[in-house]
Symmetry: C2
Subunit: 427 residues, 2 copies
């Protein structure tokens, strides 16, 4: 498309691309936008180097005109969109990319890859955070997603309210708090469980968390407190019938005087398992597979569509495909979150080709990410992550309480598309 547009009159045609999802994953009541700051950071490095150009030339993927164009590529358009950490609903216009066709079209896969994955993780994570009712959650799923996705997943889960990650690279590159844990191999490496516990305490102090389910849990807990003393930081359980086991272990710890020793549980937890453990004295949850795989919905289904272009006379024309079941809505969309006087979100209001008429209680949803090629630093790096995490907490608080149920349901807010005169567009 790039190549053909350069040989045509259309490469420089001003365009608006929109990134959105037609629906939420089945049963989900809201989604969390994540990856936007990461996408913008990738945009600042999005260049075509000699090795890439050489590949395209040798394989004759594109013409020499396109090669020259790519060699000089630098995005010079503007991008607005939902804040990272924001809630989204069906048809929420998550990103709006304004640029020439050529500059905008080649960002499609980059932006979709990042937002589809990161938002899937954040959306699942937010449900787990809500199910955990204030108990801390650690992301421990690096091994169940590919090696670079693991870093993105840790970042996305943190934005949605997780407390920490076991992925050290996410700590280094995005400032996510990190934590560690011992695996069963640590115990198996030693002649005895007691030897393993002693060695761990020797290196990490009594505040460490000991894994107690390699052999017999009851014996291990007894050994752990004997070795570490009642100031033992914590124990971890990674198997068994957790609701029963946690209660038993809590009683055992208390009876041994280790009343402040925490209990961390892991073992294929998802939001439902977390909810099922709320009545037992768990201190923190470690979540792996389910959070890094979006708890059943690993891609959000976001698409990136041309919604408007300038015609030969320089006037904006709304465009949309008409494919059955996959029709798009052409035109520029400006979103606001409608809120009641008490600050509860009541609708996702989207103005078509103009801002919707809001009132004082409503909240604007778009921020500027890129203005004429200049990326807004505010949303990048570690401070971008912290801002997104804070924003997510605030945005979640606006949701009606019923929206936090884990049960399958419809979108918590209705998406209402309106013309400039306030009349409703039928979706």
């Amino acid at each position: 498309m790039l190549d053909a547009s350069l040989q045509d009159v259309t490469a420089d045609r001003e365009c608006i691309f929109e990134l959105f999802g037609r629906k939420l994953p089945y049963g989900r009541r809201y989604g969390i936008v994540a990856g936007t700051g990461r996408a913008m950071e990738l945009l600042t490095h999005f260049r075509f180097h000699d090795e890439e150009l050489e590949f395209l030339r040798k394989r004759r993927v594109v013409s020499s005109t396109a090669l020259d164009w790519l060699a000089n590529y630098r995005f010079s358009g503007s991008i607005r969109g939902y804040r990272e950490g924001e809630l989204y609903f069906p048809n929420s216009p998550l990103l709006e990319v304004r640029s020439s066709f050529a500059e905008g079209v080649i960002l499609e896969t980059l932006f979709l890859s990042v937002l589809n994955y990161d938002s899937a993780v954040a959306s699942a994570a937010a449900r787990m955070v809500s199910a955990a009712g204030g108990r801390p959650l650690a992301e421990m799923g690096s091994r169940r997603t590919s090696e670079r996705s693991a870093v993105a997943a840790a970042r996305a889960a943190y934005i949605a309210g997780f407390s920490a990650t076991s992925n050290l690279e996410a700590g280094r590159s995005w400032g996510v708090p990190t934590m560690g844990t011992a695996a069963h191999s640590w115990t198996l490496l030693h002649e005895t469980e007691e030897g393993a516990f002693r060695a761990q305490i020797q290196a990490q102090g009594t505040g460490t968390t000991l894994l107690v389910d390699t052999y017999d849990v009851r014996e291990a807990v007894e050994t752990a407190v004997r070795v570490a003393g009642p100031k033992l930081g914590g124990i971890r359980l990674d198997s068994g019938d957790l609701p029963v086991l946690v209660r038993e272990v809590r009683e055992q710890l208390d009876s041994l005087g280790a009343t402040n020793t925490t209990i961390t549980v892991t073992n294929d937890l998802d939001e439902y398992a977390i909810a099922g453990l709320q009545a037992v004295p768990v201190d923190s949850y470690g979540v792996g597979t389910s959070v890094v795989t979006g708890s059943g919905h690993v891609a959000c289904g976001f698409v990136y569509k041309l919604v408007a272009r300038k015609d030969e006379a320089g006037e904006w024309v709304s465009v949309a495909k008409k494919a059955p079941g996959k029709a798009s809505i052409g035109g520029v969309k400006v979103p606001i979150r409608r809120r009641s006087e008490r600050g509860t979100a009541t609708a996702e209001l989207i103005g078509l080709n103009g801002a919707p008429v809001g009132d004082a209680d409503d909240r604007e949803l778009w921020v500027d990410y890129v203005t004429d090629g200049e990326v807004n630093e505010k949303w990048l790096g570690k401070k971008g992550v912290e801002a997104a995490r804070e924003h997510c907490t605030r945005a979640m608080k606006e949701l009606p309480r019923t929206a936090l149920r884990l049960r399958d349901g419809d979108a918590a807010l209705e998406t209402v598309l309106v013309y400039a005169d306030g009349s409703r567009v039928e979706l």
Copy 2:
């Protein structure tokens, strides 16, 4: 664990770690190992640089002893495992890592991340290839998995028999054949569909594939053949009731004299949709979301466990945890594929602490990936990918035909664990 082992006597203890899956994803009859070559390539670059060491130091993640050790890290052990492209079954020992505890334990997340994701994609892709019955499949799912996973997915799908990918970086770095397609935005960019088709043909020649479902398919096909002539390369359909639509479009193309114009279908295809289209004249399939997300099983559930270590006297000791439902089998496993005289696979035979007794029809499953720190170049890079793809085709041909059914079922081969004397170990 690394840090504690360095302060203990155990860091240098000789260990054997095994990477395996306890079961196949629900209903799946076989899995395809992928990612091994990529993992070994990553291993050759697995170093800790100043910026990482500085992070670990500043955050006091590990002691200075561990920092020094990490600064000099270079894997000096040996790794054997299943060939990339090989079939696997429950408890197949996919990788065996022999090294000191310290050298082996820090590879856990790297190897699991790569193999869990890549094998999930390859396993799903193989089912699609089998459902397509010889018709070519293109991987087009980059946008539905994170930006680096996309490259790995294209590689894994190709190993499992896909013909091409739309991911150019996978072409550059792994030699996967690449293809392109026009999106709806290309048509919408132009005043008329005809204008879009003319511009595409101008740039790409009449051999190109035109997307015909932006507005009305029947009109678009008519326009396409009028503009390109009956030598038009192909058309693509991305929506609608495909079994009906494909037949209609084939008839229309034929009636216009475009009898060699191919029909490519896309639109959220998975192995079941592909199977459902086998009776209609589709020429090729483009598969996105379902292949890059493992068609419902995006992580294989592989684990990496310590299975043996040397004791203080230098003797090997088998080790395993006993957690209920997650118990492991300690000891070294040596796998062969049992085959009938006619070359049909009949069982996955795994010798415990010694090679199982096979016969002339059986096939060894392990190859050497790393020997005393030297990585075998044979399995790396583009030639490794080609070798894996060829191996996958051969290994699939050994499967009993019933194993290729898409319907949920048990593992196609039983995994039989035997002692050196041939007697069976109960799993």
